[in-house]
Structure formats: structure tokens, C-alpha cells
Assembly symmetry: C2
Homo-oligomer: 471 residues x 2
């Protein structure tokens, strides 16, 4: 990366932006990009470029980039593919640092030559390219956004995406923001990645202070070795959740015509991921599950898990799911058992999983919940806690009233499962997540999240040790 | 089952019901049962029984069941476990046909003897028992409900539950009704199943005209052979979705103290399920996924699947997920390809999975969606259709405007995946489901549903053949 003049930093933090061209889409792409920049409150200067307009959305519009009366840091390009080389010439002449090429019709449609052409032009002056065939980037620090899908604003968060699909500046982002209330740091949509690729994005995000967790959606890699090197370095300090598609011969064939990707073999990729500490998921749902826990929770000290469930079936299912993971349902400390037994009816024997019901029945929901949560949280034999709730009466009020035994964030990973009447579930979920407890619908998702936190914790430890030995 | 006098029919369709006793719970169980019966509009007569009250919720209350001035069909029993034998004596004397015993404190707490005692009393007059340690039953035909959790009403539907947990007359039911808008026929909550068991419930539901799909949550079985016999007979005409917990040594240990169940070995159970045509799931989420599709969709003719996706990533992921199932992404008929190619820009080559975007871009979302859906639906080389949507602009309106190519229900299984901005997704989902297309959030869930429909279709075929050969 040393030979290139400009970096992702230049593309993500421009002071001046030109938006070149219109309609890649059903609606005018260029116009929506402008709308997004204005709605999100991008603080830099915005210059629309369009040979046929004087003004767009109240912004003075220039016939070509050369006419803009000041230096331009980044050009967002949304013109037909065959026009892009000419635009690139103009950008180079203007001294632009980076282009985000929204246009499609390149390698993914058999025009690899066009990609080579624009890259050659760019390289003359160290101009960098994101794309082509992408929705581009989103930086929540300065509200710079290049998507041609009209999007709502994310609060400043600690989750970054590297995506080889427009989804993360589209539907998938909207899902994360509106269903899961997650907040992002940066989205880097790479498209066909003719220049800036996953490895460079990882390198950048490793050093990015806003980013705590990195998520990658990947179809194919051009330079696997470079990617894995950067991944390994990044995993040493930040978790990387990765969804690799095209992992089957069938999917692989389809990927070729989506982003022109050669996808490689599943087994090779799996082994490489393990070595580089990458946390693999199979679906966007699993990815969301992990992002929430990795963003909200600390890593566990060990694999000892305590379960507290309001339903007997929850205790049984949790034990089933745990048994196929790296976690262990641990015996509780004598102190915890003695204390909780004193809060329980005699006929009930307290053990792990803790069936909460007899205790709640004896001393009330609020008091019972508090006693169990505090006991397990303070139990030194417990590294992780899984709570299984249903939306029973008074639960919402009880959770609001019970001040958790931590400030801001728990010091051990705690996740909850909650199901029931929709509106009640949503309010209670919001309250729990405010307290620092991620909430899932299914017990298996909760167990999955905890087991992956522990997997990553083990990787980090091992990695540290081997780094020491190498010294 | 011939030796017993009364059946599940008597318990599910009582004309007179006595509700005996109070508080098994934090709130008064007996009172909530009464409330449910009144709120749900149970049409039979309701007699509260409580030695200390004259009137409960406006209903004249009797000191004991013997005082009720007419015949009583079913008694719901919610008194302390040790009082149940005396109540059973009174029920037998009164000529009650069935009791639903809500009370806990039996085998699950080491009091197997108490269960044997009440069963012995019941058997003297053919009185039948549901439970003990259960939330009981729910029949949406006559609104007879015995849950001690205050529940909303389900519309009359075609899904029946047999559950060894209270969840299906509690949180889990509320989830199904409020999140997924599913409708039920019957819920039979078996609890410790000292008398009526899964086999008898299956036998009943097989003949129940309201029930099209049966779901079972099972911890343990007392008579595996009998269960599998009934399961096999039922599978021949109705699909059975089963979630078996306690399938690991860890879960098994926990199940023993939940419902006093001995759970048996995973491998044995899996093999038996396969033979009896049971469709196994691992989570309540998977169960819900399948219930929706099995309730709404026909079985496919074959395993040939067409995918239509608005995103390239959707095409790739669908191909990946399909490749590990019994389905095949099929070449489309020449007619379909020619037709859709004529609606597509030249640079794009139509194939399966169908990337919808170029077509939508060229001829508009509404027209494009219609052309693709109609072509695939009418293509004789296509047995199943998977649609991958995002909540793009005008999608909701387009779906409302495009009349589907079927009346009421599609003749081929069609499922959709939809993600994006929450409120928009919910409205569009409602519209699609009204048209007969079940909607899921994740592509893998959609593929899972279709593959299980095909698995069941194959089972039915094979079963029919072997039945013929045996003749």
C-alpha cells in the first residue's frame, strides 16, 4: 500500500465532494446521493456535476468537474460505464484524491477491460478508486455517504462493515438500524474492488478508533494471502465477523456474474479463517446476532456458563444447545446455591440451570429476579450468564426497577432470550439493552453469541502467547 | 385406547366446566382460567369451585364440585398437589369425564406416587386426565381454554400443538399470534402426561378436521413404540413438525426435573423420526418457520427451484443454501428465458437465479415483478419459487397492484425473503402473506421451509408406494 499516494482516510474524510452524473437506477442515482448528503448533514462542500443542469436540490451545478472553483477531494461517479474513463481523466487532471464509482457494467458484465482502463488512468496520479459497481461508503463521523438508496441516519457507533454488495448501504443497513438499533462507525462498500480491496479496508479499520468490531460480507478475493495477513493482524485487537458467500460450486457460479468474483474453495477458506481468527457466520441473521453481542459485551474470562430461565423448557433447551459448543454449564458456588436455596420453596432444589419460577413464585418477580441476577453475576465460578425470559406480567416493570449490579456495561457477558406478546417484548427488550444486556428471540441465538465471544477470547489468548514465543 | 371410557373429544368439547381451586401461581391461577374462559367467549357453562367464595368474576361459586346442580363434563384442577387426590374422588363421584390438572408438585418434583394415586382413582370410572403440571388445552372451535396465563384469542386456524411445556399456552403462543399471525386449531398441553399422552393426542388430531399441520414439543416419551406407530399413521396424511429437547446428556439431565421425563438417545430418536416421517427442527424459530409454510402452501411436485432476487448477493446466498438441501436450482424453460430476456437490457443475460434488477430497471418495478413472477409460476420446469426482496421504493405499491397468477393460494410453493426498514417491511409482508406467500427475514429460512416441504412430499410418496406393495 506504500506506493499509492492517497488512502481510505482521504476518501472517508473529504472536505469537498463532487457528485458526477445521474441515473444508474430507477430513480436518479446522482440526485439521491445528493439528498443523502444533505439529509445526513455532511459538513463538507457538495458540488453536483451535470452538463444539463444549472442547479440541483438548491446546489449550484457544474458542467464538468474542471469547472469547480476549488480543489475537489472526492468524486462520486454515477454515469454510464463507458463514460467513466473520460470522467477519470478529468478527475486526475483536477487532482482528485479518490473516486467512488457507483456505475455498474464492468467486470461483473464481462467488461474487465474497462476496469483496467480506469485503474490505469487513476494510477498516473495516485488517485484511488472504490468500486466500480458499488453503493460506496458511509462514515458516521462526518456523515459522508455515497449511497444511491435513500437511507436513514445511523448514530455514531462502533461497528464497521466491509461489503462486496450494496446491501449494507441499503436494505441490510436499514434492518440493522430499525430492527436491531445497532450503530455504525463506517461502511466500506467495495463492489468490484478494482483498486481498494478488503485487505486495505481491514488495514484502515484496524487503526480506526471509532471501530470496535468489523463485519465483512465477501464473495471473492483477488489476493487471499494479503487479505489473511491483514485479517490476522486485525483479529489480534478487533473481532472480525465474516460471511463468505459463493462457498459452494453453485453459489460460486452465481457470484461470478454478481461482482465478477472468483470465490475459491470452501475448505481452504475455512482453514484460513481459523488461522486468522476470523469468526465465520452463515447468514446475515447470524452476523447481526454476533455484531450485537460483540459490540455490547466484554469478552468472558472463561467458558463457565450459568443459565437462569423462567421456563423449564428453557432450561432443557439451553442445556441441549450448550452441549454442542465450547461452553460448559457450570456448578454454581456453594455460596450462590445456599443463598438462592434460602429464597426458594423447600420442595425445589436450586442448581444450574436455575429454574427461576419457584423463586419468583415465593418472593415475587422483582425480588426474585434481583436475587438470582446478583448472585450469578457475583459468583466467581460463573463467567457467562444466559437469561431466558417470557413476557410475563410485571416483568417489564421488574426489569426497570432492578438496578443491575454493574455500571454502564456488565463485566461478564450476559445475554437474554425473550419471547411473547410483541409490543411487550419490544419494550422489555429496549429496557434490557439499555442496561447492557443484548436480547435475542431464540435461546440458540443467545448460546451462539456467547460461544463465539469465548471462541474469540481463546483465539486472542493463543495469538498473544505465540507472539510472545516468537519474540 | 379402547379400554378408556372417555376421550380427548370429551375434554376439548365440554358443555359444562368446573374450575376447581386457586393459586398455583403468583396471580390466582383459578381466577385467570376463569378470565380466559370469559374473555375468549367459551359458550358452555362455567362453574367456579372454591370453598371460601360465593361469587368469582360474577359467576356463582360452589364449595365443592358435588354441589353443582348439573352434570359436569370437565374439571380444571388448580389446587395444591396433595389436595388433588381428594378432588379426583369428588370428580369421579360427580361423573366428570375429564380433568385438566394444572397443579404441579408431582413426578417432576419426585412425587411419582401422587401421580399413580390420582390415576388409580380416575381409572375406576374411566375419567381421563390431562397433566398434571400443565397449562392444559385450548380449542379455538369452541373457545375452551384452561391456561393460567392470560392469553389473547387465536382465530380459528389449522395448526395444532402437542406440547410438554406450558409455553404453547403462554409466551410461545403469544409470539406465534402477534409476530407471525398464525392461527391455531387446538393446543394440547400434556405436562407430565400421567394418562393422556402424545400418542393419544396424535391419534385424535389425525382425525380432527380443523387440523392440517401438527407441531410437537417433546421432552420424553414413556411408550416410544406406541408414539411412533401413531406418528407414522398421522404422517401419512398430515405433516408433523417435532422439536425434541433433552437430546444431549446435558439436556436430558435437566428434562428429568422439568417434566420428570426420561429422554432417550438422540440417534435412536432421529432414526425413528425418519422412519415415521416426522419433520425434525432444532429451535422454536425453525418450528415457526415450518408451520407458516406447511399451513399456507401446497406440497411441491418436485425439487426444481427458481430464485428471483432483487440483489446479486441474494442470488449467490440462495445458491449456497440450496446446494446443501434436497432442492435444485433448475434451468428455466426456453420460453421463460426468451420472454424475460426480451424484458431485460441486452447486456444482461437472464438465467436462474433471476437477478431481477436489470429487468426492474428497464421496465419498472411493478411491470418487472409481474413479468418475472408470472413467467416462473407458469414455467413447467419450475416446482418451487423463492423471491428475495428488499424494501425498495414502490415495492409495497407494486406488490399490491400486481394480482398474483393464482386464486386464494398458489399451486406451487412460493416463499419470499424480505428485509429493510422495519415498518415498510411489516406492511409489505402482510400484503404478501395475504396473497398466499409466506415471508421470512433470512434467505436460509426460506430455503429451509421449501426443502422441508419437499422432504415431506417425498416421504408421503414413498409411504404410499410401500402401503400399496403391502396390499
Amino acid at each position: 500500500m506504500a506506493k499509492t499516494k492517497y488512502t481510505l482516510q482521504d476518501i472517508l474524510f473529504p472536505k469537498t465532494v463532487a457528485v458526477i452524473g445521474a441515473s444508474r437506477n430507477l430513480s436518479k442515482a446522482g440526485t439521491i446521493i445528493l439528498k443523502n448528503l444533505l439529509n445526513h448533514g455532511f459538513k463538507g462542500k457538495i458540488y453536483p456535476v451535470n452538463p444539463k443542469a444549472e442547479e440541483i436540490l438548491g446546489l449550484k451545478t457544474y458542467k464538468e468537474i474542471g469547472e469547480i472553483p476549488e480543489k475537489v477531494d472526492v468524486a462520486v461517479v454515477a454515469v454510464k460505464a463507458e463514460k467513466v474513463p473520460k470522467i477519470m481523466e478529468e478527475c486526475v487532471k483536477k487532482g482528485v484524491k479518490g473516486t467512488v464509482i457507483i456505475s455498474s457494467g464492468f467486470a461483473e458484465e464481462g467488461r474487465k477491460d474497462l476496469e483496467e482502463e480506469i485503474l490505469k488512468i487513476a494510477k498516473r496520479k495516485g488517485l484511488r478508486i472504490i468500486g466500480p459497481n458499488t453503493t460506496g461508503v458511509y462514515n458516521t463521523e462526518n456523515n459522508f455517504i455515497t449511497s444511491f438508496v435513500q437511507l436513514i441516519k445511523s448514530g455514531k457507533g462502533d461497528i464497521a462493515f466491509i461489503a462486496q454488495t450494496g446491501l449494507f448501504l441499503g436494505f441490510q443497513l436499514e434492518h440493522l438500524l430499525t430492527h436491531e438499533k445497532l450503530k455504525l462507525s463506517k461502511v466500506i462498500g467495495l463492489g468490484n474492488k478494482c483498486d481498494i480491496d478488503d485487505a486495505e479496508a481491514l488495514n484502515y479499520l484496524r487503526k480506526d478508533k471509532q471501530t470496535k468490531v468489523v463485519a465483512i460480507y465477501l464473495e471473492g478475493l483477488k489476493d487471499g494471502r494479503k487479505f489473511l495477513e491483514e485479517a490476522k493482524k486485525t483479529s489480534a485487537s478487533k473481532p472480525i465477523i465474516i460471511l463468505k458467500s459463493g462457498i459452494t460450486p453453485e453459489g460460486s457460479k452465481v457470484a461470478l456474474s454478481h461482482t465478477g468474483s472468483l470465490t475459491g474453495k470452501k475448505e481452504v477458506f475455512n482453514a484460513a479463517c481459523k488461522q486468522a481468527g476470523l469468526i465465520q457466520v452463515k447468514t446475515f441473521t447470524e452476523m447481526t446476532t454476533l455484531l450485537k453481542s460483540f459490540s455490547k459485551l466484554p469478552l468472558p474470562k472463561g467458558n463457565k456458563l450459568a443459565v437462569m430461565s423462567v421456563t423449564g423448557a428453557g432450561c432443557v433447551l439451553a442445556a441441549d444447545y450448550v452441549s454442542s459448543t465450547n461452553l460448559k454449564i457450570t456448578p454454581l458456588s456453594k455460596k450462590t446455591v445456599t443463598h438462592l436455596q434460602s429464597k426458594s420453596p423447600n420442595w425445589h432444589k436450586v442448581k444450574n440451570p436455575v429454574d427461576m419460577w419457584p423463586i419468583l413464585e415465593k418472593i415475587g418477580i422483582e425480588e426474585g429476579y434481583k436475587e438470582i441476577l446478583y448472585s450469578l453475576y457475583r459468583d466467581k465460578k460463573v463467567d457467562n450468564i444466559l437469561i431466558v425470559f417470557g413476557d410475563m406480567k410485571k416483568l417489564e416493570a421488574s426489569i426497570s426497577n432492578v438496578k443491575p449490579p454493574w455500571k454502564n456495561k456488565p463485566k461478564k457477558p450476559i445475554v437474554a432470550t425473550l419471547t411473547g406478546y410483541r409490543s411487550k417484548v419490544e419494550r422489555t427488550k429496549e429496557e434490557l439493552e439499555k442496561q447492557g444486556i443484548p436480547v435475542y428471540h431464540d435461546i440458540r441465538d443467545s448460546v451462539f453469541a456467547l460461544s463465539k465471544l469465548y471462541q474469540y477470547k481463546k483465539y486472542k489468548e493463543k495469538n498473544k502467547e505465540s507472539a510472545k514465543r516468537e519474540k
